[in-house]
Subunit: 153 residues, 2 copies
Amino acid sequence: MTTRNMEDYLEAIWNLQNKKGYVKAKDIAERLEVSRPSVSGMIKKLSENSYILYEKYGGIVLTAKGKKLAQEIKKRHTLLVEFLKIVGVDEQNAQQDACKLEHDVSPETITCLLEFVEFVSLLPESSKWKENFQEYLKKRGLLERRSNKNKKL
Amino acid sequence: MTTRNMEDYLEAIWNLQNKKGYVKAKDIAERLEVSRPSVSGMIKKLSENSYILYEKYGGIVLTAKGKKLAQEIKKRHTLLVEFLKIVGVDEQNAQQDACKLEHDVSPETITCLLEFVEFVSLLPESSKWKENFQEYLKKRGLLERRSNKNKKL
DNA sequence: TTATAAAGTTAGGCATATCTAATAAAGATA
DNA sequence: TATCTTTATTAGATATGCCTAACTTTATAA
């Protein structure tokens, strides 16, 4: 089984590969804000579990298995961000939350969120839903500011 | 700071207190499916951090601090379940997912979800949104079954 | 009241994941 | 090519949280 952490590393590797074309331990460390020895340890583990190909002091390459998992996580992440933005979470918070939630959301919930996002995005221009929701959010914002009640929950 | 695990234990304690009126280590162990020594360890930790009052071989009582946090987590949990059910996740899955997500969702996202749930629940009977969404979900279900494509993502 | 059963604790170990300090290998430059 | 800098690894420690086995305390019941 993969842990939350292995997933984070795999996703980072996938992102780096797409962005820079290659992956170095140093870059993973920076991206995940961990020390290089931590990266070394995880590389060993991912390699042992056949998610990556690796030789000491060499390059890091995702196996088919690793790539598949990394893509899945990335898709979950992207979907979560899309969804969070629809319900009014700002980009930055959406990104941060998605990083954590992507490890825990069950396949069934993913399917439901996917359908929700698709449904909303397919709403015809004539649909009043979006603008009603926007209006509702705006009204809520005003009310809350007025009553000065910052519900932390 | 509280860890994910401390939160799980606090929530369990809160639930037991509400359900049975008192809390025993054994019940926590059963509820969380961990061994009794694990519970002993966490009780010590929660006690050291002033989330509960505890004396060896004695009763477990939440402090004001512990109660407050437990209630917050419980609220997050309840909200997540409500939300997940709206987008079509069945009760059981919603409960399971909420148990995990409740630790990671940021306050801002909680606020947004709360507003979304409220908005949907306040939709007038005349609103076509709900039935359109239901219909959409049904249609998707049929299409997926027909094409036999189980997107696992 | 004393033996037994149930509940809780301690001891000791394992797994995950982190860190710093020290060492080794690779890459860049004079 | 030899040196210096960057990058990566190993060694060794810490923290969280889990487990089983053994022991202690409390509660029950004969």
